[in-house]
Amino acid sequence: MNSLIDIRGLTKDYGRTTALREVTFSVPEGSIFGLIGPDGAGKTTLYRILATLLTPDRGTATVAGLDVAREFRQLRTLIGYMPERFSLYPDLTVDENLHFFASLFGVKVRDHFDLIAPIFSQLARFPNRRAGALSGGMKQKLALSCALIHRPRILLLDEPTTGVDAVSRSEFWGMLATLREKGITILVSTSYMDEAARCDRIALLHRGRILGIDTPTRLTARLGDPLYAASAGEMYPLLLALRGMPDVKDCYTFGATLHVVADEGFDPDGTETALRRQGLADVRIRPVEATIEDLFIKLAQHED
């Protein structure tokens, strides 16, 4: 498969802070590529370079064969960029924003309406409402519509689901899948690890460095060690007790439970009994599937 984005050894410093260090990866055409990492990992810097808003210090990046530093003028018509912050005119109406961005790219709204129709359908009910008065989910749909109205080949989405409720987030990922069907390559970043599973390929970014790139399933398989979820009446004593056990490699809070990375010979039932004897009530330990977050924690620890 052709790659639509090619990044080689990209480095960017802000004064003495390094935002990106030797970042190298490529995004296959027609895929959803996820950029996963916590806040401050360098995701937005990478987006700004790809969106031709920032020049890298070292390394190269090409999008659709065009160099982001030299051929930015042609490139700007090929990319659709949705920054993390809502960046439409709050005092223009829904329709005015859409027509404004369409006309800047020299297209009519109806030319590519098929592309945005599924996204825009809910907004079409209030075309005259000012963008600033829309709800969070609606703002996001309008911003996506505006970023798509010139039918870009590549869509750059910087944390599109941050601050959006769970239902809207799931709906949003559904929309991305539809766009991929229409041949649009999508680079999407998120700090929600659970969203990683909905990407074709993901890159884990931590402190400006790529920790791993692969499909979500192959990446999680890299964890290697068996993983268990543990819970008890009182979680903190459980955490301390588990961390003190010889065959436990790592133990950390994961949502409402603890995740335990253990050696191959770890015996969950024996451990449960041992913990009860130590006075912990309702101890339960059961095997779980590793997630991207587990891998991330392991890789990030290794990095530190």
């Binding site: 808003l53 700007r76 439409l88 709050p90 005092d91 961005f101």
Partner: protein, 370 residues
């Protein structure tokens, strides 16, 4: 030039401006307020100048001089004293601003063809009132003397006829001097602040990010920020001139086109400066503070309140770098003297040079990429 895109951007600017709850009102209310209130408040005209007279002559002529003075609009004879010291005490008490001394034998000497002296001294504590009061008094004296000599059929000695003539603003009306300059203040504020605030608020709201990834060129974008404020600047000047005419009865002595030409150049200067400052600021607060620093210097050193001629030499040299100086000179010369391009080409050239400079800086410092 991306004419099509520029048109789209201008339409957007207009829509946004009209939807703004404050800006349209400000554009109408501020010129009206400034033009209606400030000329009344910042009035340096002198009325009710008190004159203490020391009449040692006690002639028909001396009594006529005093009576005429008392009858004139802005002078009141508050005391007739025998000695200068007594008159000075009236000044100290504050009921007189000017002392007129008519020497004994004044009438006889004047009739005998000599050149006797009248003596005027003024209280310099309130400099404006003192200087203008002495001027009013000497004018009144001259009028009486001229009339008297005409009646007598004698010619006044040369020295007595020498007089001060206030050309172009015959009544020394401070209002006529201020009104043309107030329009300059309006343009400084509106065309300097609004483009800067407009651009920085796009930075703060993040909309500039979305604009920068579109094919909009930076010159086109900067132009879309400048053009609306040029139009507003001309509107403000028009409102200002209408108020000057309808309320104060002041119409330019020169051609109105010269005023518009200067206003166009000056709006370019101010809006160019505003956008240049906005390009370097990342928050509204920064841009307002920097703009304010410029505006204070412009207002105080542009010759608006303090005449440039009365500044120290080094400060006079500095004012050549203050663009409003040229606009104020043009406005006053066209309004009061009826001057035209032939008289003012240097000022127009200086304004044009500043306009070009600031607009170039505005376009050059705007960065779509960091």
């Amino acid at each position: 030039m991306q004419t099509r895109i520029l048109r789209i951007l201008l339409k957007k600017e207009l829509t946004l401006m009209l939807r703004n709850p404050l800006i349209p009102r400000l554009i109408v209310a501020m010129p009206l307020l400034v033009m209606l209130v400030i000329p009344l408040v910042a009035d340096l005209d002198v009325k009710d100048v008190g004159v203490a007279v020391v009449d040692r002559d006690h002639s028909l002529l001396s009594r006529r001089l005093v009576a005429d003075m008392d009858a004139s609009a802005s002078l009141t004879v508050t005391a007739v004293c025998d000695t200068y010291d007594e008159a000075l005490r009236h000044i100290e008490r504050g009921d007189a601003d000017v002392v007129l001394t008519i020497p004994s034998g004044y009438f006889r000497d004047l009739s005998g063809g000599k050149s006797p002296h009248l003596d005027l001294s003024a209280n310099g504590v309130n400099a404006t009132k003192g200087i203008l009061g002495a001027q009013y008094a000497s004018r009144s004296l001259l009028q009486t003397l001229t009339r008297w000599s005409a009646e007598e059929g004698t010619a006044l000695p040369e020295a007595a006829t020498a007089s001060v003539l206030n050309r172009y603003n015959p009544t020394l009306n401070f209002r006529n001097y201020m009104i043309p300059a107030l329009m300059v203040v309006l343009l400084i504020l509106i065309c300097g602040f609004l483009p800067a605030l407009n651009l920085v608020s796009e930075k703060e709201s993040g909309t500039i990010e979305a604009m920068n990834v579109t094919p909009v060129g930076r010159f086109t974008f900067v132009l879309s920020k400048l053009i609306p404020f040029w139009a507003i600047g001309l509107l403000v000047v028009t409102v200002g001139m209408l108020v000057g005419w309808l309320v104060y009865g002041l119409v330019p002595a020169g051609h109105i086109a010269y005023i518009y030409l200067a206003a166009i150049l000056f709006t370019l200067v101010m809006s160019g400066l505003g956008v240049s400052i906005a390009n370097r600021s990342s928050t509204l607060l920064q841009s307002i503070f920097v703009m304010f620093a410029f505006i204070v210097i412009f207002q105080l050193m542009g010759g608006l309140f303090t005449p440039i001629a009365s500044m120290p030499r080094w400060a006079q040299v500095l004012t050549y770098a203050i663009p409003p100086r040229y606009f104020i000179e043009i406005m006053r010369a066209v309004y009061l003297k009826g001057a035209g391009i032939a008289d003012l080409w240097q000022q127009y050239a200086a304004l044009a040079a500043f306009a070009l400079l600031f607009c170039l800086v505005a376009a050059k410092t705007y960065r779509k990429r960091e």
